[in-house]
Assembly symmetry: C2
Homo-oligomer: 227 residues x 2
DNA sequence: GTCTATAGAGTGATAGAC
DNA sequence: GTCTATCACTCTATAGAC
């Protein structure tokens, strides 16, 4: 047996599970999405996280405080989990990237057999009226989501009409996603989601065609591709 | 004192409150929309309806059964409460009627200071995964809503492009309404709802212009008005 | 920081008299 | 068909030892 004092310590001396607080948040994230906030009991969260009541109330003032931590988690993970993969998949075409993003939500929905849906959207309808601080965090989630889309629309430059209201359209993309997810869950089929995205595609194509035509008539280098 | 036997009975011998069952449903409709299904206790429904536990469980098997009765109520009242007023307000212009309908939802939202929202949409996200029979009724609500819009789009005839996918567009209108309501509630402002409707307006205008142009090029009587 | 035990209120649902 | 009373649980949150 080697002398423990001279053992070289491993780089990660703690191969532990994530710290208690994070385990609680991760369990709550999953359960709130599966069952909703009200329908999820604190005791279930504790059991799934493998944690005791005293630990949870050490880190969080209340169940609502834990919910706020979950929404903060979504804010912090929007870029790395949701947006960055789409930028990597569609680096050169910010308009097409919007549909790559919508297809990412589509895949999640299909994978879950049209259950669960958008966790923030679910909480928006369940909790916005009753918990003002929660509503603010949901709002910030939506604002950040739409702000990213708006940057993509800006990035498209003159491929889109110059007088296009990019801020409204960015919110509209979120509207299409959330509305499509809602109907897909109710219909237990991806079809209403696809139908909604197809209409958005048609609209976008018309915007691209219009911008290309104006560019051409002004003596631009040529019409861009519509897709 | 007149002889009671010869008294002419009033046409409605029962000026009573609505019968017990309906009082329960009406209270539940309101509370489920205000607080959600899970967050609403049966005891609260009973108190608000002025009814005792035994009466409720005489008419309904369970709280979920009462929820199904509420969704049935929405199905039965879609036409008289939601759709008929728009047809009366915009009898000759089925395309404009869609925006009259969206403005009807807008008014409700503004009146309630951007709370409550669409009661069926709320239940869709809260209950679709957990209660299969409830999900089916929510689906039927959405189907009927979109089917009415589709009839309006059909009614518009050649004012809209002949190759337009009217079924998809009808679902899309529902998508815009629900997605706009969700963001308005989260933002506690009507602005995201208006932004979404404005984009739908722009899209619709483009469809009308395209159909009018095609009609003209085929030698029709003239271009229709874009609004 | 984590443990056990429990308070105190509320949950959906039922039994049985009237 | 409506009443009261109550069952058997579950809920969120806390107290206090370790």
């Amino acid at each position: 047996m080697p002398d423990p004092i001279h053992e070289i310590p491993p780089e990660k001396p703690k191969p532990d599970l994530p710290p208690t607080r994070e385990r609680i948040v991760l369990a709550a994230l999953r359960l709130f999405q599966e069952q909703g906030f009200t329908a999820t009991g604190v005791s279930t969260i504790l059991r799934e996280a493998g944690v005791n009541s005293g630990s949870m109330y050490h880190y969080f003032d209340s169940k609502e405080d834990l919910l706020r931590a979950c929404l903060q988690w979504y804010i912090e993970h929007l870029e790395p989990i949701v947006m960055a993969p789409q930028k990597a998949a569609t680096p050169g075409d910010p308009v097409e990237r919007i549909f790559t993003l919508l297809d990412w939500y589509r895949q999640g929905l299909v994978q879950m057999n049209c259950t669960l849906g958008c966790p923030v959207g679910n909480l928006a309808l369940e909790c916005s009226d009753q918990y003002p601080l929660v509503r603010e965090l949901i709002d910030r989630n939506f604002e950040n989501w739409a702000a990213e889309i708006e940057r993509w629309l800006d990035e498209a430059g003159d491929r889109l009409p110059g007088d296009l209201d990019r801020k409204s359209l960015s919110k509209f993309v979120l509207t299409v996603m959330e509305g499509g997810v809602m109907q897909a869950r109710a219909h237990k089929s991806i079809e209403p989601f696809d139908a909604s995205v197809a209409v958005l595609r048609d609209y976008t194509d018309r915007l691209l065609v219009e911008a290309a035509a104006k560019k051409k008539s002004r003596g631009g280098s040529g019409g861009g591709k519509a897709r």
